[in-house]
């Protein structure tokens, strides 16, 4: 009998057996979420103290067998077959659902024969009155400690901790369940089938199902399911659920968001007012604080969305949604689980992309992430409303359809159509070795566990603020520097010209200051870039001013309006857009010999904003979620090209 101090524990089991619930009960909020090296599968680690000792726990992805069929299963197989791996556990907690023994115990028997130290945890205790809680004698014979845990109440967690602390490794005493080395069968499909059949035979022999239990396992469908997955009512209920979620996100998340936004604006103002004037104070007030504000502002939206999503997950309703939506979106290269991320992206692409983690198929998840920012998010609304007010005339179509409303609707529809079409393109480009199919478990419907919901919300917010937040703040500082500095001679000349103009025209201090800000932006590196790209954007009907606004609004789409306000010298403290709209309407393009903003150039700009990936935070989140810079860069390029070509076509269509 070999003894080793238990320090690292891995939680292993089939999907939907309650592994994460056990992990959350053990570690609470002492969790870190990362990725397994080189892949985008969650690697959840945490720790807890018991009797003066610290235990590290890793929650491994749900796995059915040691013969992998998916990326998640490959990760588990690679880890458990390699005792040199830095994550190799001293003990495996094998979590099995008491109501699904036959399927759940297959992996258990495989790990048993691989000689992995194990402790068996039986879950779903409270749901199943049919099963006796007495321990089967086989576990004692096989030297496997067994603990019953009630995932809902946490009953049994202390017993589990005690069992881990008292664990005695009896691997040397094990007699194999099925003879043969599983490592050698990894490439032998026929051998795998025979081996698996012998294991199922062992499970059936030792755990025979009685009539009622067998029926329960085979027809595990509640009366609610006939409604929730109904071909008509199923969609209607889902539409209603989405409607309620979006109402909450738009109405209630906007309250804390506006508060946070206002607080950061005040903080910036306070810093400028109370700290000694200088370039570093400008950096703090105009670069760092808005950068941090840009991260924190999204927190309510992310928290709200994940609150609802985890309630849907916890209740088991999400699996029903995935089931009914899958056949609708599969022709587009998406899967049922893509629907929620895409719908969420209408509020904001960031939580939408983060919620794509529920998609286990790597390719489907990547496609969802790549197309999600095409859905028109709430940050586009200020841009759309400004441009619609500017170029779309008042009036009705067919006597009752408001023209401006129709254009706004068309912009949203355009985003959705583009997302579906681009999914098809990516499906063709990102060829899979095997076409994906959906195998899913339909967990039973149950009330949500609010503790789990809370942990999910905190974890998602933490991931966004700490991981993506760092990139957003760093990029905001770099963008600030590019918008604040420029060739000194050029800046000086421009400033002198403004001073002379101010003196000649007897301008007020405020007007002079607004003109100075505008001229500084025009002659900054970003401004020079705006002038420099003018030949490229000229075919779209844009001038250098729009070029600057497009470049600065890479930070966030809504920055377009603020940049325009700076360029047209109306300041940032405008209460509505009327002053800005007035100046933009009067702007005349000398080269083209007509107003800068016509229906053609305005629609072209709107279409550009439908498709262009003008969002630094989304860029950072895609980088974080794909653990790669390649995909966010590809995304920026493809969306940029799509935006440019569509804007070009639109401009010439309406010219």
């Amino acid at each position: 009998m070999s003894e080793k101090r238990i320090e690292r524990i891995a939680i292993v089991g089939n999907p939907n057996t309650g592994k994460s619930t056990i992990f959350n009960w053990l570690t609470g909020l002492n969790q870190q979420v990362g990725n397994f090296p080189g892949v985008t599968v969650d690697r959840k680690k945490g720790n807890y103290d018991f009797n003066g000792q610290t235990y590290e726990v890793i929650d491994l992805p749900g796995t059915y067998s040691i013969f992998p069929r998916s990326e998640e299963e490959r990760i588990v197989r690679d880890l458990l077959l390699n005792n040199q791996d830095s994550d190799f556990p001293d003990l495996v907690i094998y979590v099995a659902d008491r109501t699904q023994w036959e399927r759940n115990l297959l992996l258990f028997t495989q790990l048993y024969d691989l000689g992995i130290p194990m402790l068996l945890v039986k879950t779903m205790s409270d749901q199943d009155a049919l099963w006796s809680s007495s321990q089967h004698p086989i576990w004692k014979d096989r030297h496997i400690p067994v603990v019953d845990v009630n995932g809902r109440s946490g009953e049994g967690i202390q017993e589990l901790k005690a069992a881990i602390a008292q664990f005695h490794n009896a691997v040397d005493l094990r007699k194999p369940i099925v003879e043969g080395d599983l490592r050698e069968l990894q490439e032998n499909l026929e051998g795998q089938v025979t081996n698996t059949q012998r294991r199922y035979a062992w499970i059936k022999e030792n755990f025979p199902l009685k009539g009622a239990q067998a029926k329960e396992q085979l027809f595990h469908k509640s009366k609610w399911d006939s409604l929730l997955i109904h071909p008509v009512w199923g969609y209607a209920i889902f539409a209603l659920v989405l409607f309620v979620i979006f109402q909450f996100i738009f109405r209630f998340a906007s309250v804390p968001m506006d508060f946070i936004d206002g607080w950061f604006v005040q903080l910036s103002g306070g810093v400028k007012e109370y700290l000694p004037a200088g370039i570093f104070v400008d950096l703090i007030a105009e670069g760092l604080i808005p950068g941090i504000g840009g991260v924190v502002t999204f927190v309510p939206q992310i928290a709200f969305l994940f609150f609802f999503l985890s309630i849907l997950e916890e209740t088991g309703y999400m699996s029903r949604v995935v089931f009914i939506m899958d056949k609708l979106v599969r022709p587009f290269g998406l899967n049922g689980k893509s629907v929620v991320p895409l719908m969420s992206s209408v509020a904001c692409a960031i939580p939408g992309i983060m919620s794509a983690r529920t998609i286990s198929n790597g390719r489907d998840r990547l496609i969802t992430i790549l197309v999600a920012p095409l859905m028109s998010c709430s940050a586009r609304i200020p841009v759309y409303t400004l441009l619609i007010s500017l170029v779309i005339p008042e009036g009705n179509l067919l006597g009752w359809i408001d023209l401006k409303g129709l254009v706004l609707f068309a912009l949203y529809a355009l985003g959705l159509i583009a997302a579906l079409l681009m999914s098809m393109v990516f499906k063709w480009i990102l060829k899979a070795k095997h076409e994906g199919f959906m195998v899913m478990e339909m967990p039973s419907l149950k009330p949500p566990l609010m503790r789990q919901v809370g942990i999910t919300v905190v974890e998602k917010v933490k991931v966004f603020v700490l991981d993506a937040g760092k990139v957003i703040v760093a990029l905001s500082i770099v963008l600030w520097a590019l918008a604040s500095f420029g060739p000194s001679e050029r800046l000086q000349r421009a400033e002198e010209a403004i001073m002379i103009k101010a003196q000649e025209n007897h301008l007020t201090d405020e007007a002079r200051s607004e003109m100075l800000t505008a001229v500084k932006l025009e002659n900054s590196y970003i401004g020079i870039l705006g002038h420099w790209i003018e030949p490229v954007i000229k075919p779209l009907g844009y001038d250098w001013k729009m070029g600057i606004a497009i470049i600065t609004s890479f930070a966030a789409r809504e920055v377009f309006v603020g940049s325009m306000a700076t360029i047209y010298s109306v300041g940032q403290d405008f209460e509505d857009n009327s002053r800005l709209l007035d100046r933009m309407r009067k702007d005349f393009n000398e080269d083209l010999g007509k107003p800068t903003y016509t229906i053609a150039s305005g629609l072209s700009l709107m279409v550009f904003y439908v498709f262009a990936m003008q969002c630094l935070a989304t860029f950072a989140v895609v980088q974080r979620e794909t653990t790669s810079w390649k995909w966010p860069v590809i995304q920026v390029i493809y969306m940029g090209v799509l935006a440019y070509l569509s804007a070009l076509i639109t401009y010439h269509l309406f010219l």
Partner: protein, 49 residues
């Protein structure tokens, strides 16, 4: 003067952080096959060469 130095350090630090992160990701990803059509074409070309 102090403000200038602090600004240079902050902006330089932010740019360095992004570049370092970019480099680390690039290093990790360059050996990983994505299995996409473009990469497969590239691999086939490499093989032929």
């Amino acid at each position: 003067m102090t403000q200038n130095i602090l600004t240079i350090l902050t902006v330089g630090g932010a740019a360095f952080y992004l570049l370092r992160m970019f480099y680390a990701m690039w290093k990790e990803n360059k050996t990983k096959c994505t299995g996409c059509a473009v990469h497969q074409l590239y691999m086939a070309k490499q093989k032929r060469a």
